[in-house]
């Protein structure tokens, strides 16, 4: 087993504390160098915050584990410098097909619209993502990534936390102003702090087999309800990098995990599916159960929980790692503003509120998928099969087929950081919405909107002709950008042109921006550093922008 991937072994370096015997204090310590902890550490370090990242291991994820990375997570990974590597190595896909017994009953396309930089989803073994993130982390001089550093105790205080950390050289003490906890579903820190995580366990078991084979299956997600090769249960097939295929077999609660993992029991299941002629090799096998649960609050004073440490979902829908990566994206800009003294620490409560809202949505959707895939009663199975039977012929029933509602970002419509609309707009780019992408051009160079609208607040001001923007308007905007919260103002225009006041101009050369944002000359969008809409108006007024910026940073 394990033939396509060579696991890196990262070097353990004795921490300075153990070399010189002095305890040091850091602005931020992140615990757990999985995909989420790495993303948090990289994003903070990139924004200028020095970070220590602790991990108890010295390699990447063992086994492919999380394999589906959604468009929104890719957009965040782009900003931490690993999106291209992931997309180049991964298998991009948009189409999912669902089969009932022997027939296809339904298919979906995650991204039916053109003109988005990233696909709906890529499949990539988790170890590749972590390897790319480690490489990126090691390029950053203010990111101190410490392997084989295991946190053995935590003592939160009003102004930070003190950690005891065990290394091959013994135990040392480390102090931090802020602690970001990304140590996974069985979070040691959460346990050490006696914090509850509540939810429900699903009484079912699933077998994951990673299989290496040459096959010409299309880059699509295939899902079977009750297939002839695995009667009464569900099966899911995904293609990953290196000709590795992920096959997921529902086993039922009675299955014995140790027995089911044995190759002599796994191989016949795969043969039944692929036929006797297909050559394949088993690369990795695991049997899992899952639960849907979340912490009540993701913030405990100076301790902030992200990813699986804070919330867990069933795997149907790929809402685990994808939501964890979005947690870091929501948290890091807020933490940076608080550390810099530009926002009160109550801004971090909105991290818990907004990502808690997202976690509830993820739990709701993945619980619904699980209930459809594995019905818990005879009547539930009858309804499920009736839906699948009607789905062959009728569109309404196809819409009810739920083989996993795949990870999409949450519309943070309830957030206190939003300034509610006072003007009328069509479409979905409401305050709290995650930004749609659009092709743009600046100084003759084409790019994607999402690649240039991030990491700081931005106001996109739609004008008919950038050359006609007068000096008075330029002065108003200049005054805005001198406020304590960094804000960049960019003109968006249907045509190229130089603004006399020296503002940047994004040319909406396809008209997609105008269409997707229901934007016309005069329209202003205020965008958060994590690419969510904070406010929008039909006309520019500096005082309204200032007020919305204050609201979006808890400075109102």
């Amino acid at each position: 087993m394990l033939s396509t991937y060579q696991y890196p072994k990262y070097e353990y370096v004795q921490p300075p504390e153990q070399k010189n015997g002095k305890t040091q204090r850091y602005p931020v310590v992140v615990v757990g160098a999985g995909p989420v902890g790495l993303a948090a550490a990289i994003e903070l370090a990139q924004s200028g915050v020095p970070v220590v990242l602790l991990d108890d291991d010295d390699t990447v994820s063992v086994g492919s584990r999380g394999v589906c990375y959604a468009k929104r997570a890719l957009e965040v990974l782009d900003r931490i410098g690993v999106g291209d590597a992931c997309v180049a190595k991964g298998v991009s896909w948009n189409v999912g097909r669902t089969f009932f017994r022997e027939e296809e009953v339904y298919n979906f396309n995650l991204l039916p619209q053109p003109d988005h930089k990233r696909p709906g989803m890529i499949n990539l073994q988790q170890y590749y993502l972590e390897e790319y993130e480690v490489k990126r982390a090691q390029e950053l001089p203010n990111l101190d990534l410490r392997f084989r550093n295991k946190v053995v105790s935590v003592a939160p205080q009003g102004d930070g936390a003190t950690l005891q950390v065990e290394t091959p050289d013994g135990i040392y003490t480390l102090e931090t102003d802020w602690l970001v906890v990304a140590d996974g579903a069985r979070s040691g820190i959460r346990r050490m702090m006696n914090l509850e995580i509540e939810g429900k366990v699903f009484m079912d078991r699933f077998l994951i087999a990673d299989v290496v084979m040459k096959a010409d299956f299309p880059a699509e997600r295939w899902f079977w309800f009750d297939p002839p090769f695995h009667p009464g249960q569900s099966v899911l097939l995904h293609r990953q990098a290196d000709n590795v295929y992920r096959i997921d077999f529902q086993l039922g609660w009675q299955a014995d995990p140790e027995e089911e993992k044995k190759p002599e029991n796994v191989i016949p299941r795969i043969r039944a599916m692929l036929g006797d002629d297909r050559e394949f090799e088993l690369e990795w096998v695991s049997v899992y159960t899952f639960q849907c649960r979340r912490m009540n609050d993701f913030r405990h004073g100076r301790v902030l929980f992200v990813g699986d440490a804070a919330h867990q979902v069933s795997p149907f829908g790929a809402r685990g790692a994808n939501s964890g990566i979005q947690d870091t994206d929501n948290l890091c800009w807020k933490l940076k503003l608080v550390i810099d003294g530009k926002a009160p620490s109550s801004l971090l409560d909105t991290y818990s509120d907004e990502r808690g809202f997202a976690a509830d949505e993820n739990i709701l959707n993945s619980t619904r998928s699980t209930d459809f895939i594995t019905p818990k009663s005879k009547i539930s199975l009858t309804f499920r099969n009736a839906v699948l039977t009607l789905a062959r012929e009728h569109a309404f029933a196809r819409a009810l087929v739920n083989s996993g509602r795949l990870s999409v970002p949450t519309f943070l419509t309830e957030s206190v950081l939003n300034t509610p609309d006072t003007d009328s707009f069509a479409g979905d780019m409401v305050p709290g919405a995650p930004l749609d992408d659009a092709p743009m051009r600046e100084n003759g160079e084409n790019f994607w909107l999402l690649d240039r609208v991030a990491n700081r607040f931005m106001a996109l001001v739609h004008v008919a002709d950038p050359a006609a923007v007068d000096a008075e308007f330029g002065q108003k905007i200049e005054a805005l950008t001198k406020a304590p919260i960094p804000l960049e103002v960019v003109l968006v225009a249907p045509q190229a042109g130089k603004s006399p006041s020296g503002l940047r101009v994004f040319e909406d050369y396809t008209g997609r921006y105008a269409e997707r944002f229901d934007s016309e000359p005069g329209t202003v969008y205020l965008i958060r550093p994590d690419q969510h809409v904070a406010a929008r108006w039909r006309s520019f007024e500096a005082a309204r922008v200032t007020a919305a910026l204050a609201k979006a940073t808890c400075n109102a």
Binding site: R368, D371, I379, S380, A395, F396, L400, N402, R405, T413
Partner: protein, 85 residues
């Protein structure tokens, strides 16, 4: 497909709830389906069968148009004992 356009029975996705705004096309159908399964919570098979019968009668009266109900009944029966359209 031609047959569907001549029918008055709605077969396109049609779920919605007053006052609710949806950002994802799958949400209204999933809202309904969850409520439907939840209605059967804790019932045995016989109790569920009675609930289903009552539900059909309530909805049938709400729809009222018997020609629409006949179409639905015909489609519902299809494929169960080998019947076809």
């Amino acid at each position: 497909m031609k047959e569907e356009t001549e029918m008055s029975l709605i077969l396109k996705p049609n779920f919605n709830e007053p006052g609710k705004r949806y950002f994802r096309a799958f949400t209204p159908g999933d809202d309904f389906y969850e409520a439907l399964i939840e209605t059967h919570h804790d019932l045995n098979d016989e109790q569920s069968a009675i609930l289903n019968a009552k539900l059909v009668l309530l909805l049938a009266n709400h729809i009222g148009d018997i020609s629409v109900l006949r179409e639905a009944m015909k489609l519902a029966r299809q494929g169960i004992k080998g019947e076809t359209a």
